[in-house]
């Protein structure tokens, strides 16, 4: 741990607290470099980042949206009512 700390200036707790900003591209260049240096040497924190990345990737997968015919019909009627208002 003392070696990790000297190398990157971050302990795991501090690294994890930066991960939210890191994944959202909101870290300052300095913090990003410090975090990336930590991740390169710490398998636990790197795993944690990878798990969050996998979670985000899963969230982005959804069945292609399909409009049910009855929904399409209801929306079409809604539009025609508006047009005749």
């Amino acid at each position: 741990m003392s070696i990790l700390r000297r190398r990157s200036g971050l302990v795991c707790r501090d690294a994890v607290s930066l991960i939210g900003g890191y994944l959202d591209g909101a870290l300052s260049p300095k913090d990003r470099r410090r975090l990336e240096a930590h991740l390169a040497t710490c398998p636990h924190c790197a795993e944690y980042v990878d798990q969050l990345r996998a979670t985000i990737a899963l969230a982005g997968h959804q069945a292609p949206p399909v409009l049910e015919p009855q929904t399409e019909q209801a929306l079409s009627e809604l539009f025609q009512r508006w047009r005749s208002e």
Partner: protein, 195 residues
């Protein structure tokens, strides 16, 4: 499929062109239903909210000023409708420390390091069971986290669009997103880590 731009679609819509409306609802209605679902407890209510959104959007067409994207404007109307329908929106922003930070020893190291499973699912991000589990986990999040994660990670809105839709600051958006993602990851950890 040629995707017309907002201004062109709006012009056609104001002129009563139903094809323009069909193009819009095909693109956005399923997204609006999913988003509305983050506010209301019953799935069928989400469909009602999305349909009310279209009525309000059509009636308010002349009020759309083009300062935000059409998508942002639609989601914003939907959020207002859904808030009224669901009355679940506490609009709480977490201010306490991130719960994950309690998992560290005084020297800042992990008390119990994460089990390794990311590599197991990295190649299976389209696995239907896992995707379902993640979407179910998102619905279990506290209200605003659920809304932010749905808009950002499920529907792909930008941070700025989410701030505009939910009328929250960028800092709050970031906290809610991270807390929400962490919550979903924890639920996934209990599921995958336990295998």
């Amino acid at each position: 499929v040629i995707i017309s731009d907002d201004a062109e679609l709006l012009g056609r819509l104001s002129g009563g062109d139903e094809a323009a409306f069909t193009e819009l609802v095909t693109r956005y209605h399923p997204q609006l239903v999913r988003f509305a679902r983050t506010y209301v407890s019953r799935p069928e209510l989400a469909e009602d909210v999305a349909q009310e959104t279209w009525i309000a959007a059509l009636r308010g067409l002349d009020k759309f000023e083009g300062r935000s994207s059409l998508r942002t404007w639609l989601f914003r109307i939907c959020a207002n409708r859904a808030r009224t329908a669901g009355q679940t929106d506490k609009r709480t922003i977490p201010v306490d420390n991130d719960p994950i930070l309690e998992q560290f020893a005084p020297d800042g190291s992990w008390i119990s390091p994460p089990q390794a499973w990311a590599h197991e699912i990295a190649g299976h991000v389209d696995d239907a069971d896992l995707v379902r589990a993640v979407h179910a986990a998102i619905l279990e999040l506290p209200d605003m986290q659920r809304q932010v994660v749905t808009l950002r990670d499920v529907q792909g809105l930008t941070a700025q669009e989410v701030c505009d839709v939910l009328t929250i600051s960028d800092a709050n958006q970031r906290v809610l997103l991270h807390r929400g993602r962490t919550g979903v990851r924890d639920r996934l950890d209990r599921r995958v880590g336990a295998r």
